[in-house]
């Protein structure tokens, strides 16, 4: 569930626009909200190196959704940063990254799941909380489900690929207060999992809250 705060809190975010929504997503929690065309969503890594898994859907036709491959091919680069167009499965632009103080974000590494955790670390991790659990929770509350799962974005997560193709989630390059600004080019349902993973460095082994602010 997500709640719009009626009164701006004492530490109201300083954003270049009128705030229409502001919320701190607790550690390990899911979140979802429709960002209307023209509005901007700012995701703030409050305490530094917190992976924020994210999938986007056309709010009016969720069968059209974020495509990592379309996004990478459109810019011929695997890293997301300012200027990246977040593309849909049908080749339309869902959102544009208009600001990025972190430097680069991942869309190759996918979301952690109870099932993939058993492969990566062992069966002892089966009952640890995971991003796919969060995604299914958020999707389920909106009449969507596992059929709507697809490859995601990982804000603030560092996944380099070396010359031999070796790939892994390594120590992050983010820091407290770093943020991304995403401008909605169409009404976009944004679904987030504030990653609960503690078996690799994606959250610096300490899941923390992140802030989401929508302004226009």
């Amino acid at each position: 569930m997500s709640f719009a705060i009626a009164e701006p809190p004492a530490n109201a975010p300083t954003v270049p626009g009128a705030v229409v929504y502001d919320f701190v997503i607790p550690a390990r929690a899911p979140w979802a909200h429709v960002v209307k065309q023209g509005q901007t969503l700012r995701i703030v890594d409050l305490e530094g190196n917190q992976a924020v898994d994210c999938i986007l859907y056309d709010a009016n036709d969720p069968a059209e959704r974020y495509s990592a491959a379309e996004t990478i091919v459109a810019q011929q680069n695997i890293f997301l940063t300012t200027g990246t167009r977040l593309m849909s499965t049908e080749g339309n632009v869902l959102m544009t990254i208009t600001g990025d103080t972190c430097g680069r974000h991942d869309t190759s590494g996918g979301a952690c799941s109870c099932e993939s955790n058993t492969l990566r670390y062992g069966h002892h991790t089966k009952h640890q909380h995971a991003c796919v659990e969060n995604f299914l929770d958020a999707l389920g509350r909106r009449g969507l489900g596992k059929r709507d799962m697809t490859g995601n974005i990982n804000w603030f997560m560092n996944v380099p690929i070396d010359g031999e193709g070796a790939l892994g989630i390594v120590d992050g390059i983010s820091a407290p207060g770093k943020y991304v600004d995403l401008r909605a080019e169409t009404d976009t349902l944004v679904v987030i999992s504030n990653c609960p993973q503690v078996n690799n460095p994606c959250n610096a082994f300490n899941p923390t809250p992140v802030r989401v602010t929508i302004f226009e």
């Binding site: 969720p62 069968a63 059209e64 495509s67 990592a68 491959a69 379309e70 990478i72 091919v73 011929q76 680069n77 695997i78 890293f79 499965t89 049908e90 080749g91 339309n92 680069r104 190759s108 590494g109 996918g110 979301a111 799941s113 109870c114 099932e115 993939s116 955790n117 058993t118 492969l119 990566r120 062992g122 069966h123 796919v132 596992k146 059929r147 709507d148 799962m149 697809t150 490859g151 995601n152 690929i161 070396d162 010359g163 031999e164 193709g165 070796a166 790939l167 892994g168 989630i169």
Partner: protein, 276 residues
């Protein structure tokens, strides 16, 4: 030459029946056991699928656990885009991000696994000759083909892979939401240190192939369409052939299964699944 007099149903039927026996390059072999030029050691009676797709064409099939699938780059310039789902429970499907993350490498090839989103192996990659897998760039779409070739609709001259997947899955009762990210064969894409993409333009050789082994009952759909990064202005893609034959379930000492701790657990998860 105009057709003969077709003014009665009998004449129309005779006309239709006269067309049988036509052979084209791209068609299924029916029965599959009549397939020619099989891989060494494959008995005709074990062949369960043999089909050639020309540019823009597609195929789909359920492959029972243990089935081997050879995808052949018949004339060196094909691009096979492939998706896979658990045939028994298609809400479980290929997860390319898990596949590269769990195996610690973005470049797939012989010895690697194609993983589902449920921690299980759908297909092993058992052999290849210049299989050249691309796990990054996905499938062509109507929009991407329209940009490069002027159109991308299924009914036109430049069909796209994504809509081929949609139609293939529709015949199994599935829809757009069920199309997962795909892999591509026979066109390699590598990533530079700065994250930039490099498309391998060097041609392959006729007869290059990749061989997969179904570790579960798998629904595969494959489209043969030009790669999204292929710079050539003309829609260019040569034939791809699929040949599948029955085989035994992978034993515990299989070298692909035992290649890494992750692969061992993936196969253990498959066995656990088949207990119920």
């Amino acid at each position: 030459m105009p057709p003969a007099d077709l003014s009665t149903p009998d004449k129309a039927r005779a006309h239709a029946r006269a067309q049988a026996g036509t052979n084209v390059r791209a068609m299924p072999t029916i029965p599959a056991s009549a397939a020619k030029d099989l891989p060494a050691g494959v008995a005709p009676a074990d062949v369960v699928w043999d089909e050639t797709m020309a540019a823009g064409e597609y195929g789909a099939r359920v492959l029972r656990r243990g089935t081997r699938l050879r995808i052949t780059n018949v004339a060196a310039d094909g691009c096979a885009s492939l998706i896979a789902l658990n045939a028994d429970r298609p809400i479980e499907r290929l997860n390319v991000a898990d596949t590269i993350k769990v195996q610690w490498n973005a470049y797939l090839g012989a010895g690697k696994l194609l993983l589902s989103d449920m921690g299980r192996v759908l297909l092993s990659i058992t052999a290849e000759r210049a299989g050249r897998m691309d796990s990054i760039c996905g499938a062509s779409t109507e929009a991407s083909n329209a940009r490069r070739y002027g159109s991308g609709e299924t009914h036109g001259r430049h069909p796209n892979a994504r809509d081929r997947f949609m139609i293939a899955l529709a015949k199994y009762g599935l829809g757009r939401r069920d199309i997962p990210p795909n892999v591509n064969f026979f066109k390699a894409v590598t990533v530079g240190e700065d994250g930039g993409l490099r498309f391998g333009e060097a041609p392959g050789a006729a007869g290059d192939f990749v061989e997969l082994r179904a570790e579960m009952n798998v629904l595969v759909a494959m489209a043969n369409t030009p790669h999204v990064l292929d710079p050539r202005p003309r829609y260019t893609c040569s034939d791809v052939r699929v040949t599948a034959w029955r085989g035994p379930v992978t034993p515990p000492d299989d070298p692909i299964r035992t290649a890494s701790p992750e692969s061992v657990r993936a196969f253990e998860n498959v066995e656990d699944y088949f207990l119920s």
